[in-house]
Amino acid sequence: MSHSLRVAVLGAGNWGVALAHVVACNGHHVQLWTRDAQQAEEINAEHRSERQQPGLAIAPGVHACVGLADAIEHADVLFIVVPSQAFRDVCRSLAPLARPDHAAVSCAKGLETRTHLRMTQVLMQETCIRQVGVLSGPNIANEIAQGQPAGTVIATRFPRVASAVTRALSCRRLRVFESSDVCGVELLGALKNVLAIGAGMAEQLAVGDNAKALLVTRGLSEMMRIVLAVGAEPATTAGLAGIGDLMVTCASPLSRNHRLGAALARGESLAAALRQIGMVAEGVYASRSACELAGRYDIEIPVFAHIDKVLHENMPVGEALDALMGLPTGHDLPHFARGPLTR
C-alpha cells in the first residue's frame, strides 16, 4: 500500500505532539486532538506548541482540532496519548464515534487506579474497537521530537495494527519493533515507574551506584514475576518495553517519578512532593496496582512493596532500604529464567 495513512493523535501533551510530528514527517495525514483551543490555534497557525515542545517546528502535516469527531472521522489509526487516569474518560467520549474497523493504540504507561486494568482493556470495555495495540519503550518525547535516534515497540495481536504503526512512525531516526505480548508490554510500562521512584530515592540518599543497580535489578526480577503470574511473556522484560524503558527512566534524573522519589527521600510528604513536580507521576498509582496484583496471584515483590509503603504508609525511605537489605537471599535468577548450568 502506498497511499498515506490517516492518523488521529488524541492528546496533545509533549508525547502526543512529538508523535504527531513524527507521523507527519513520514508523509501521513495527522489530526491532533486537544481540548485547548489556544494550543490548536498555535499549532495550526504557527506550527509550534511552545508549552509541550519548546522550540520544535511542528511538521505542517499536523492539523490540530478541538472536536473529537473531526479528529477521528476519517482516521484509520488512533493513537491515544493521555495519562492513564484520564484514559477511561477519553474512551467514553470516543465511544459514540468509534467504528469496528478503527485501529487504536494506547500510548499511556499506567494502570487504572481502582480496577488495575490495562489501558487496552479499558479501551475495549468502553468502545467497540477490538483492533488494539500499545506503544511503549525508552521514548523520551523531547528526544524523539528532536529527531535523536531511538527505538520503540508496538505490541499488538493484529498484524494490520503492527504494520500501520510501523508505517506511521518508522524512519531512520525512530526504529519500530513489533511484539505480540500486549499484556506484558502494558504492565512493564506501568511498573517501571515504581522502580524509577525507587531509583530517585537511592540517588537522593547517595547510597552509591551499586545500591541503585541492586534495587533496580531486583525490582526487574519482581516485574518478571508479575508478568509471568498474569500470563504474559517473561521474555518481554528483556525487550525495549522492559529493561529498555527501565534504563531510561531510572537513569534520567529529569523523569517525574525519579524526581518524586528524590523529594520523598529528602523527607517531603507525598502531597508536597507531587505539588513540587506539578505533573502526573504514574508510579504513585502503579505501586498500588503492583501490590494488588501480587496479592491476587500470591507472589512476593518486596522492592515494590517497600516503595509502596514509603508512598502510601509514610514509611521513611531509609527504613525501607534497611528492611530490604535484611531480607533473605536466594538464587539470583527466577527458576524459569535459569539455563541448564544454573537450574
Binding site: 469496528p100 531486583r218 533473605p328 536466594g330 527466577p334 524459569f336
Partner: protein, 560 residues
Amino acid sequence: MDTLGTTQRANIHAPGQHAPKRHVIGGSAVAREVTQRVMQALDGAAAHSGRTPDDVLVETLYHRQQRLADPNCGPNADQERERIKELRRAFAHARAGSRSSLVEQVVNDYAAEIAGHFDPRVYGFATSVIPSALAALLHGGKPSTHLFDVDERILLEGEVSALQRAARQGTVVLVPTHVSNLDSLVLGYAIYRLGLPPFAYGAGLNLFSNPVIGFFMRHLGAFTVDRTKLDPLYLATVKEYASVLLEQSQHMLFFPGGTRSRSGAVESHLKLGFLGRVVSAYVNRHIASSQSRPMFVVPCTLSYPLVLEAESLIEQYLSKRGGPHFVDVRDELEEPTRWLSFLRGLGSLDVEVHVRFGQPLDPFGNLIDEHGVSRDTHGRALDATRYVQADGVVVRDAARDAEYTRSLSEQLLSAYKHEAVALPSSVLAFALFSCLHRRFPRLDLFHLLRVLGPTASVSLAELDPEIDRLLVALERLAASCQIQLAPELRSGGRSAVLEHGVATLTEYHRPAVLRRSAAAIEVTQPSLLLYYRNHLEGYGLPGAIELPQARERNAGWGST
C-alpha cells in the same frame, strides 16, 4: 430478560410444534464440499511449504499407526488395521502424480465417517420419544401413579426467548459448559422443547457406544468426532466440516471447553479450534454474499445437583494434577446399569437440572438486540461486518480472526460464571470442605485429602455459620448478576442447603458422599465433596482454596 432464575415456561413450545425446516446437517453433499475444501487448503499450504502429497500420506499413516498402538484407541481396531494396510499398498503402487487422489480418498473417508446420520423423518420420531424415554428411564420402566414430568426436572432458564428469536433471525451457535455425558441428551431435549430446529453437533465417539444415547445422537444431528484421532488431516476435516455447516446457515452446538470439566468447576479455559470456525464462517459468508444471515453465539450453562460420572471425573482430575501418571478409569456411560440407576436416582429425588441460556452475542463478543443488531457496551448499534473489513471490503485475515476468537472466548468464560447456578449440594459441599480445610490450613489439596482419610466429621455448630457466611457472599454476587441462585436457596437459606444438599449428596453415589447424624455431618467421600464444591470455585468466596496448577512460588529477594 429473566434475572430471577425462574423457568420461562410461557416461551416453551408444545412438543412437535415446530418441524425442522432446513435439513443441511450431514449428508454426502456436505462431505464432498468438505473434501474439496480440505484439498484446496492442502494445495494452498503446499505452495508455501513445499509439502507434497507423499508427505501428507506419510504423516497420516504415521498417526494412524501410532493410534493403533494405544490400547484405548476405541472400537474397530481390526478394521482400521486393514485400512492402513490397504492404504500402504496403494501408496506403494501409485504413480507419483496420482498420490494426490489417494490423499483425497483419505479425506473423503474421514468426511464420510464424520458426517451425521441425520434424517428429518427419524428426527421427528426421535424427538417425540425423548420425553417419554427420559421419563421411562427415570422410573425404571415401571408404570407409576405419579407420572414423571421431564419438564419439572430439566429447567430451561435465562434468555430463552432471545435464543428462540436468534434462531429465527440467523444462525445460532450454542456453546454450553460441559459437565457430563448426559449433557448431549439434556441439550437435545432442550432444543426440541424450545421448538428450535435441529442443531448439528460434534459428539465424541464414546456417546455413540451407548445404544440408547447413540440412537438419539445419530438422529438429532450429531456428527462424530473421534478424539483418539490425532492425524492433522482428520482434525482439518472435522474443522472444515463444522465450517461448511455454519456457512450453510446450519445451527450448531459444540462444547468449547473441549471435554467434560474434570474438577467440577465451571470452565476457566476454552479451546479455540472450533470456536475459531465461527469467525471464519462469518467472514466466508460475507464474502459470498453481503446479505448474509447474521450469526449468533449463545452461551449456556448446565448445573446438575448430581453428576453421573462425578467419581471418575474427580479421580482423573486428581491423578492428572497430583502425579506423573494419568490413571485411566472406567467410563460410567458404558455401564448401562450405572446410568440407569443415576437417572432413577435423579427421578426419585426432588432435584432439578438447570439449563441456563445467556444473552446471544455476535461473533466478536458484542451483545445483540431484539432485531439481531450488534450493540456496543453502551447499547449503541454498530455494524459488525466492519470488524472484518479493510478499506470497506470484507477480507480474510487469519491472525485478526484468531484474536477475535480469543476475545470471544473471554466473553464466554465470563458468561459461564454469571449464568452458572449455585445449588444446595454445591453450597453444602463448599461449606463442608472449607471447614475441613481450616483444620489443616498449611496442607495442599492432595495432602489434605490424604489426611482426611475415609471419614471426617463436621459438627453443625461449626458448619452452620460457614453456610451462613457463604450464603451472604453468594447473595451479594447474585445481586450484581455474577452468579445465579437456585430458587430453594433464595427461599430456604441455610435449612434448604442442609435439607436438599444432604438428601442429594447421600443419594446415588455409593458409598454416599456424606452421612448426617443429629449434630454433625460425616464426610465419607472427600474427593467427591471436592468435586461438588468446585462448582462454586473461581468466585472469590470465603473458604476458597488453591486448586493445584503448576506454578512457582517466589519468596524474599531471590528465588528459591
